[in-house]
């Protein structure tokens, strides 16, 4: 028994854990049983715990534990199948068996003297099965399609009958998952569905889906109305249908999937008859992968580990884990290399041009130029491929926010519904990481300041539950994220008074401001309207931090509010920061890059086109007033009112949404893909500069921070965003 001695400690600690889990399940079942209905999942978990204990004990030759858990297992199976009613007496016996397990374990640890007599407990367990047989399942399942019933396991069928017996409605939730993210997707959906009812089974869908996607039908029993469930879970390819039981429903499950239905019942895995497995395998291997992935619980892992399960399942395990986790810094290094390759390629191009100038006839040169062209094409594929690798769906951060909403909502005593759309919108992983904090802050603001307490909402004729919408979508080459609540909105008068009170602006200054200008105060550092900080927010570090963080991602944030009806924040972000297309411009002898995604257009004007409004230079562009900003003056590189060529002034119109500013530069030097490099801690906060980049010929140039420049222009002149009050005094810094 040297084998025994060596590994018995391992067994003891593992068995101890399982028994403790079993005991916790029982305790919870006990408290539920006292108040009425118990959670079938708990019974299931208890069943699985005992099942793994059995396997574990058999492996280590703990015969008494094996036979006790074997007996217990059948009892728990009857319980979860409803063949046996869960009563206090049953629970008493179950708790007695927990104590017996503990004694057996202690005995096993002492060397197994076999002093413990398990017969009395076994007898009590056996008595349970004799006496309290519950009524057999006789619920009418007529109306449910045979194609469903045919693939259900005994347990699933029992749960289905239970749901029907309790008068619950049945729903078929159809969802489509990305093969690579299916485990996350299913868990998320399962989590949501559990709020509404019970997930009875997963069925692979017959609908032809793309190679890399898997469609599932999920059978759900719930007391809720169809609309409620739809509102809660329907998004991004998830659809919900109610199954009318009076008439036949359309076929949903293609083939009897012994493999698939088996997953809900690990007990059957080991000894499952091979019937049907051949056909199932022929149908679609990925679907088997799904089921394993979705139900890959500790129990199953334990079973595999102890050889209780035939390793045929491992085939499907392999099929879903064809992903690699990569550190972002490694991708950054690759991206940098690609960027540097781009520089090399540009330099090669220059050399080739020079060669052509001296000897344009050489065949070799023509060959080289051809190869160069091929290389630059491949290089751009490589670059695009690397960018694609960095892209992740925004759903990652949205899921986190959903949990925050639930938690904060409960803490604030407010009932809040979060509706998410566009979770599949993809954005650079780095941006997603940087986005969670600002979004979290905005959500906190919605809950703390926005959504009114329940009574107040009812008084105003609003639905009792507050609503927060989180939307994402792609607009051009930028991603827009909207956070909207249906709360009390922001009262601009309130903001104005607070601004005056805190000395941010004077009463005279605020008198002529537009509402949107007043609203901009919320983005000022340290600005708060609250006199007392709450647990959630109101400490005066809020929207300014949000704005700074988003600005750092070359994004912009806008606010739109209607008192009494809600507030909407709109964040506009670039899809990636790793590599961008830039417009190269010259100003006062220096070269700068402007991210092309914030350039609306470039025009050429003459000095005579520039007019002055209230001391601010503007031009008229298609009937609209466009404020001008001299890059050279902003950066102090040239004196006022000095143009290198008064007849040829280039204006790069930058901005986002309604904010537009014309940036005056000396020369437009073309477009280029550039890799952005950070400037480091010391220079990070230079206003208007977002970073640096390498152009060809070893030139390092600065990349402009368009969001900051637009802000600066708006702060300096009131003829900016809306053009509504050109006569308003300057309130800027």
């Amino acid at each position: 028994m040297s084998e025994h001695g060596r590994s018995s400690n391992e067994f003891l600690s593992e068995a101890q854990e399982v028994i403790e889990a079993f005991s916790r399940n029982l305790l919870e079942l006990d408290s539920q049983q006292r108040v009425g209905e118990h959670d079938p999942d708990l019974l299931n978990a208890a069943f699985r715990a005992v099942h793994s204990l059995k396997g574990l004990a058999a492996l280590f030759g703990a015969t008494q534990i094996t036979s006790l858990s074997h007996t217990l297992e059948s009892t728990l199976d009857s319980l979860r199948l409803g063949k046996l009613g869960l009563t206090q007496q049953t629970l008493d016996v179950l708790f007695a068996s927990v104590e017996m397990f503990q004694r057996l374990l202690a005995d096993f640890g002492d060397g197994g003297a076999d002093e413990v007599d398990i017969a009395p407990v076994l007898a009590r367990i056996a008595a349970l099965s004799d006496g309290g047989a519950a009524a057999a399942d006789s619920t009418d399942l007529a109306g449910l399609d045979e194609s469903i019933l045919g693939v259900l396991t005994e347990y699933e069928e029992h749960r289905l009958r239970e749901n029907v017996r309790l008068g619950r409605r049945l729903f078929r939730v159809h969802a489509s998952f990305d093969l690579l993210a299916i485990d996350v997707g299913i868990e998320a959906l399962k989590g949501k569905l559990k709020e509404y009812g019970e997930v009875i089974t997963y069925l692979p869908s017959a609908d032809g889906s793309a190679e890399d996607r898997i469609d599932l039908d999920i059978l759900v029993g719930s007391d809720c109305a169809l609309a409620t469930i739809v509102g809660g879970v329907e998004e991004g390819g998830v659809t919900v249908h109610e199954i009318a039981r009076t008439r036949a429903v359309a076929a949903q499950a293609p083939v009897a999937q012994e493999e698939d239905s088996g997953h809900a019942e690990p007990a059957r895995r080991g000894g499952r008859a091979p019937t049907g497995s051949g056909s199932a395998e022929a149908v679609a291997p990925p679907q088997r992968g799904v089921s394993v992935e979705a139900e890959l619980d500790d129990d199953y892992a334990a079973d595999v580990g102890h050889g209780l399960i035939e390793p045929n399942e491992s085939v499907s395990l392999r099929s879903v884990s064809q992903t690699v986790r990569v550190e972002l810094s490694r991708l950054d290094r690759l991206m940098n290399l690609v960027g540097e390759l781009g520089v090399v390629q540009a330099n090669l191009g220059v050399t080739a041009d020079a060669m052509r100038a001296t000897d344009g006839t050489s065949d070799l040169l023509r060959d080289m130029i051809g190869h160069l062209r091929t290389m630059s094409r491949k290089l751009s594929f490589l670059q695009q491929g690397l960018l694609d690798v960095r892209m992740v769906p925004l759903g990652q951060v949205f899921d986190k926010l959903a949990r925050v909403v639930r938690k904060l909502g409960r803490e604030a005593g407010k009932d809040i519904r979060l509706s998410i759309s566009g979770a599949q919108t993809e954005i650079d992983k780095l941006i997603v990481e940087e986005l969670s904090d600002p979004l979290m802050h905005m959500i906190r603001n919605c809950i703390d300041h926005g959504i009114e307490p329940r009574e107040e909402r009812i008084d105003q004729g609003k639905p009792a539950a507050g609503r927060i919408d989180l939307r994402a979508f792609q607009r051009g080459n930028r991603v827009v994220i909207e956070v909207e609540d249906d709360g009390r909105g922001i009262d601009w008068r309130h903001i104005r008074d607070a601004a005056v009170r805190r000395g941010v602006a004077t009463a005279v200054e605020t008198r002529d401001m537009t509402t949107s200008e007043v609203l901009d105060f919320i983005f000022r550092p340290g600005f708060t309207t609250r006199d007392h900080a709450t647990e959630l927010s109101g400490r005066g570090v809020g929207m300014d931090v949000v704005k700074t963080n988003i600005g750092r991602l070359s994004g912009m944030i806008d606010v739109d509010t209607a008192p009494g009806r809600g507030t909407r924040f709109e964040i506009t972000l670039p899809v990636t920061l790793a590599i961008i297309q830039a417009l190269v411009v010259d100003s006062a002898g220096e070269t700068f890059c402007i991210p092309l995604n914030s350039v609306l257009e470039s025009i050429m004007i003459r000095q005579a086109d520039i007019v002055t409004v209230e001391g601010h230079e503007v031009i008229s562009l298609r009937g609209k007033t466009l404020p001008l900003l001299h890059l050279s003056r902003l950066f102090g590189t040239r004196a006022e009112h000095e143009y290198p060529d008064a007849q040829r002034i280039y204006v790069v119109i930058i901005g986002l949404a309604q904010h537009r500013v014309g940036l005056l530069v000396d020369e437009l030097a073309g477009q280029q893909d550039v890799v952005i490099k950070p400037l480091g801690t010391a220079l990070r906060s230079v206003p208007g500069i977002a970073g640096a980049t390498e152009l060809g010929a070893d030139r390092t140039v600065l990349l402009l921070d368009v969001a900051a420049l637009v802000d600066e222009a708006l702060a300096r002149s009131d003829v900016g965003a809306t053009s509504q009050h050109p006569e308003a005094p300057n309130h800027g810094a």
Binding site: R524, G680, A682, L683, G688, I689, R699, A708, A733
Partner: protein, 187 residues
């Protein structure tokens, strides 16, 4: 620069290891080999000799392609690209309130590591590696107070000459890099 050669020789066993001197050869290693000696890179800015700990210096490079950055303090010469990494370049004579030498014959970029980031220090000439015993270090005299005094960590006596040991924490204080007024312009 007669002492340049022995000093460079001393530089070979890096990391404060003890080493033998000519004295040791003469007296037959009677002296205890010291382990507390520290090495500094000595360089010239204007007419003064400065030093930074050799552990802080990552490399010494020629001065090439510095891109000016607007809205930064006057001592910020700009940014340089050192093998793909963009680093700020500090014009040390301005930072240390010295008169700037026009066209020094051998300017160098001393690349130092400070708080996990690289910075370039523009100096007029790099001399050598010098080894200094702790007892040869003294605090900056009180008379040297004011802005300049803040940048001095200690004074070292090196064979009769004074070496001013720089305090990189104050010289490279990130708060000084961006012009105070410019910071407030953006909202």
């Amino acid at each position: 620069m007669a002492r340049e050669a022995p000093d460079l020789w001393h530089a070979a066993p890096r990391g404060g290891e003890g080493f033998a001197t000519e004295e040791d050869y003469e007296h037959g290693y009677k002296r205890e080999v010291r382990h507390d000696l520290q090495q500094y890179i000595a360089f010239r800015v204007g007419s003064e000799r400065y030093g930074v700990s050799i552990g802080d210096v990552s490399e010494i490079s020629m001065v090439l392609g510095i891109t000016p950055v607007p809205r930064t303090a006057d001592f910020v010469q700009g940014i340089a690209n050192i093998r793909g990494v963009v680093i700020p370049v500090v014009e040390l004579s301005t930072r240390l309130l010295l008169t700037r030498e026009q066209q020094p014959p051998r300017p160098r970029l001393l690349i130092v590591r400070h708080e996990e980031e690289l910075y370039g220090l523009l100096v007029d000439e790099v001399y050598a590696v010098v080894t200094i015993a702790p007892e040869a270090l003294e605090d900056a005299p009180a008379a040297l107070t004011g802005a300049r005094g803040d940048y001095i960590r200690a004074l070292a006596r090196d064979e009769g000459e004074i070496l001013i040991i720089l305090d990189l924490t104050t010289v490279l204080d990130a708060r000084d890099f961006v012009v105070a007024g410019a910071r407030g312009i953006g909202r």
